[in-house]
Amino acid sequence: MIENAQLISLSRQIALQRQTDVVANNMANINTTGFKGEQVLFEEYVMPVARDRDFPRLDQPLSYVQDWATIHDLSGGAMVQTGSELDVGLNGDGFFAVQTPAGERWTKAGSFQLSANGTLVDASGNPVLGEGGPIQFGPEETGILIASDGSISTSAGQKGRLRLVEFTDPQALTREGNNLWAGGTPAAATGTRAMQGFVEKSNVSGVAEMAEMIRVQRAYESAASLASKQDELRRSAIQRLGDTNA
């Protein structure tokens, strides 16, 4: 069963490589507005082996490592004051809704801009949705004020309310890039506060990711050394057993 030992350490190495990719992505996005970190979950994959009741001791089942999911760490990021009236940080579980060509998407990145015709848009230019569709500002309006419940007013009066959504199972959301999330069944958010003049920073903790990186790296090295030890073991076994006494 020496080959099995090598295959098991190979499964460990492949899973660890993927985990490095996830750590690297978290680290690359350490300054991305509204970014939420990811963590890889592993599970044991038990391989059925030949069983024979005649053996004095039963065969041990083999267990491989499999990475089966990444979970979103949805804890809040630091709120940083920017002083820009179109920056909105969300304090709570809610997401903003934006309209993309592919349909509605959700985002935590509240660094908004105005488009040339006065529509409130996100950093990629997708319109931000209010409860009655995209939010439009007229050319003469000044003094945009966003209240903590997301309602927007300007010098021209009430402009509607930002659509804030939350999900019963946010882990089922998928990431699309561009700070957007897709899927899920949106419900109106309760208890989420919008903070004007703030942006929510990435919730990735540099220290934790660095420690994770070192841990992954060492685990990878020990799996690699296990593989080479197994190889040595097999070679000496072949040498010993193949040595015929002529």
């Binding site: 190495q13 660890l16 490589q17 993927r18 490095t20 990719d21 996830v22 750590v23 690297a24 992505n25 680290m27 690359a28 996005n29 350490i30 300054n31 991305t32 507005t33 970014f35 890889v40 979950l41 990475d67 089966w68 999911a69 990444t70 979103h72 920017t82 002083g83 820009s84 009236e85 990145a109 801009q113 105005l114 488009s115 040339a116 015709n117 006065g118 990629s124 050319p139 003469e140 000044t142 010098s155 882990q171 089922a172 959301l173 998928t174 990431r175 699309e176 890039g177 561009n178 700070n179 899927g183 990711e209 990186m213 070192i214 992954v216 090295e221 690699a224 593989a227 080479s228 190889d231």
Partner: protein, 261 residues
Amino acid sequence: MKALYIASTGMSAQERNVEVISNNIANMRTTGFKKARAEFEDLLYQQVTRAGSSTSDQGNMVPAGLEIGSGVRTVSTPRVMSQGSVNMTERELDVAVRGEGFFMVQLPDGRTAYTRDGSFERSPEGELVTSTGYTIDPGINIPGTATSVAISPDGMVSAYLNNESVPTQMGQLQLARFVNKSGLESLGDNLFLETAASGPAQVGVPNADGVGNLLQGYLEMSNVNSVTEIADLIAAQRAYEMNARVISGADEMMQSTSQLR
């Protein structure tokens, strides 16, 4: 092993970030300068296992998918167009804008540029020009005989000529505003150009039309806040270092693979 490339996107994004911050700090004392901010977005995700795919005939499904991201990109560097503090200079041709508006400047190539820098001068012919020497649009000519120039909050330029006791009106300063000020293109020399993203300029008279009003004898300072810039610089530098550490970690992992026997 995508980690190498993912971490390199992180390093180049932080490099861009430091470039933006250093330009802000370099322009800390530039009249009418508006600070920029680097905005980042995550890149595409590889869906290894999709959330919600079924794991059995009984309808059990994967509660959370396996997603591997591919890094970060700098999406934009919007300018923060907040009001800078006004500083008293006591020069009669220094004008600060309080509010949304921009002065209009005639470029030598015929285009119109926009600026918040109101440190004006007089050309040899008496034209009101910017400190680079470009004429203000609409043009205002102040003859050599004028003694003291007064600019009212609503943009009326008047001067006393030939020791007369009543001031003579020389012209009206106008201001332009934009729906999306952050969408203006920076030209350097404190000038901005209109773009498709900014929307067309809406020209108005100060104190009306929502363009703000003028303050003679004052200049608008830059809106760069040194404390937040330095804090951002430290954060960017550390993020750069940590991404570099990920690259060396991934490199060591590959090294231990290549040393397998």
